[in-house]
């Protein structure tokens, strides 16, 4: 028997029951679309996090006061006996060759006023190095001065500028924070959220000024950029050594590499994607049961036809093939449509949330199609064997189906 004839014969049977065919195709389609959408969401979440870390710069060491006993995320409450100071930060590029630049960081929230307008801002005390470390771009003016860590100047995030100085040139104007007054010297280009901090909502000031504003002696953290990614592990150890020496032999800081943090996120998000894929696979399995149901009905309805096929010399294997191909047609069309639907929905999602990188992992599409086809064949086997085993004598005795 020719393959095209087999396809046409089975296809003819599929076409005869439009509603039933449509419903089983729909079942498979929903299953495949679910696999693509759910894995796309999981993978998108992973890419989002990876992208966020990349925007931070991939060669960063993050030095946090306090010692965590287990590896993981930064401790929320710092219990360091020694302050993490600006001098600590400045010592690092001098003592550790691999460290290219450092930026000390002190962060807090404060109410900022300009004329009659006021709003809450994230106040960040840091140095000029921050510009390079966080890959910031200026839209107007300049960033913090390198020479004077205690100047009363500030640089605004894009939204702060828009809301406190709407339609005006803010350069040279005064911004009041508590009793402090700062002259605006620059505005950062819009950037969006990065690792929990909305860079459009910040006001950056020199680090010493920041310590005074918050009345603190210890930095919030130090960001150290390593020149070459391969040296990050040795640099981390060297940084720890330098800080232990500076802190009277006590290891009272935690140095996080981005890789460690990223690995933690990645493994969580990969598990999430796998779990979502598993849920979607269940819906594919249910779709397979739908195909089996349709095929069993089809066999029962076509008892006389099967008897006739046997009488005209159609073999056992050919009858199995006729019904398996029928199941495969349902599964393949359903899989194809589900693929289109999943991709289409993904496109809509990307359109609505452009910042979320919705993206099914590369294995999702072949896996979804492979599973839907094998589901179709697997659940087609039982009905097809039922058909082939039918007793032609009994089948042909029936008057009507």
């Amino acid at each position: 028997m020719r393959a095209t004839d087999l396809l046409r014969y089975s296809g003819g049977a599929v076409r005869r029951h439009r509603l039933r065919t449509f419903l089983s195709i729909l079942g498979v389609g929903i299953g495949v679309a679910a696999v693509i959408l759910l894995t796309g969401l999981g993978e998108g979440a992973r890419r989002y996090v990876v992208g966020e870390f990349a925007s931070l710069g991939s060669n960063l060491l993050i030095i946090v006061p306090g010692k965590t006993e287990t590896a993981g995320l930064a401790p929320l409450i710092s219990t360091a006996p020694h302050d993490l100071t600006r001098q600590d930060a400045e010592a690092l590029p001098v003592r550790v060759a691999a460290v290219r630049r450092v930026a000390p960081l002190i962060v807090g929230t404060a109410a900022a006023r300009a004329g009659e307008r006021s709003r809450e801002v994230t106040l960040v005390g840091t140095t000029r190095e921050m510009l390079a470390i966080r890959h910031l771009k200026m839209s107007i003016g300049r960033f913090l001065p390198a020479a004077t860590p205690d100047a009363a100047v500030c640089v605004l995030g894009a939204r702060v500028q828009r809301e406190l100085f709407p339609g005006e040139n803010p350069l040279g104007q005064l911004l009041r924070i508590g009793d402090w007054r700062f002259r605006v010297i620059g505005v950062i280009a819009p950037r969006g959220t990065s690792i929990g901090m909305d860079l459009d909502e910040v006001v950056e000031i020199p680090v010493e000024t920041g310590l005074r504003v918050f009345n603190r002696s210890s930095l919030f953290r130090i960001l150290a950029e390593v020149g070459v990614h391969d040296e990050i592990t040795s640099a981390r150890r060297a940084v720890l050594d330098v800080l232990r020496e500076r802190h009277a032999g006590q290891e009272d800081v935690t140095v996080l590499t981005q890789d460690a943090v990223l690995d933690a996120f990645t493994s969580i998000l990969k598990a999430l994607t796998a779990a979502l894929a598993g849920i979607a696979a269940i819906s594919l399995g249910v779709a397979g049961l739908g195909i089996m149901n349709v095929m069993l009905v089809s066999v029962a309805e076509r008892t006389r036809e099967i008897g006739l096929l046997k009488a005209v010399g159609v073999t056992h294997l050919q009858i199995i093939a006729v019904f398996l191909v029928e199941a495969a047609i349902l599964a393949t069309i359903g899989g194809g449509l589900g693929l289109l639907a999943g991709e289409g929905a993904g496109r809509v999602l990307r359109h609505i949330y452009p910042e979320f990188p919705f993206h099914p992992p590369p294995w999702a599409i072949p896996a979804a199609l492979g599973v839907s086809c094998s589901v179709g064949l697997l659940f087609g086997i039982l009905p097809a064997r039922n058909a082939a085993r039918l007793d032609p004598v009994v089948a042909l005795m029936r008057r009507k189906a």
Binding site: G12, R304, Q318, V393, L396
Partner: protein, 225 residues
């Protein structure tokens, strides 16, 4: 061509065996026109199914064209049905979604014959049964007599040696029934072995050789040459 020797067929119905055929001895030569008659339950359909290799004897020997069928595998039996035996049924058994032409060509589809040749041969045979103008009609657009003629065309499309007809006119008015019988009798005159199963003595009486079954036993065999 057909040699039955001591053929038995026993069914199990509700736990107790029913002997549908008992010790059937029968020889039919090529080109014969045989009718098998008997009341319902006499075993004539069972005999027809065994002759057509749709069913196997419980005991005894059935040799078709000199070959013992009991030793043939399922696939070899399929081939025998495909190339050597044609069936005509009381209820036609046409595939409803296929046209008359496609129904006639169906055995050739599964025999792997190329489409162009299928179409030519199916047209030839449809012309032979006088239905070429209706080639593209579906079964529900044809009268009973026309459907049965399509079924006959399908039965002989692969030039079998034996045509088995189970009450071929049983579902038709008497005029169409006569036409159908004339058609297959004409094929018999062309050399095709014809076996008609019927409960109707008028139809059975048309055959040269008349076999009568009762309770699974051949009780009469008239006109055996």
């Amino acid at each position: 061509m057909i040699e039955l020797d001591g053929v038995e067929r026993t069914y199990v119905v509700g736990g107790s065996p029913v002997r549908a055929l008992r010790n059937v001895q029968l020889t039919i030569r090529g080109g014969e026109y045989v009718s098998i008659m008997g009341p319902s339950g006499s075993g004539k359909s069972t005999l027809l199914n065994i002759l057509g290799c749709l069913d196997r004897p419980t005991a005894g020997s059935y040799r078709f064209a000199g070959e013992e069928t009991a030793t043939l595998a399922e696939t070899q039996l399929s081939h025998l049905r495909r190339y050597k035996i044609g069936f005509v049924f009381q209820f036609f058994h046409l595939v409803p979604r296929l046209t008359a032409l496609e129904n006639v060509a169906l055995p050739m589809v599964f025999a792997g014959i190329p489409p162009a040749e299928r179409s030519n041969r199916a047209r030839e045979v449809l012309e032979q049964v006088g239905l070429l103008p209706r080639a593209t009609h579906r079964p529900d657009q044809l009268s009973g007599g026309e459907q049965q003629r399509v079924a006959i065309a399908r039965a002989v499309i692969l030039k079998p040696a034996l045509l088995l007809a189970d009450e071929p006119s049983g579902n038709l008015d008497s005029a169409s029934g006569r036409e159908i019988l004339n058609l297959i009798e004409g094929m018999n005159q062309g050399g095709l072995t014809l076996i008609v199963v019927t409960h109707d003595p008028l139809i059975g009486g048309r055959a040269r050789r008349k076999i009568r079954l009762s309770d699974g036993v051949i009780v009469a065999d008239e006109g055996a040459g």
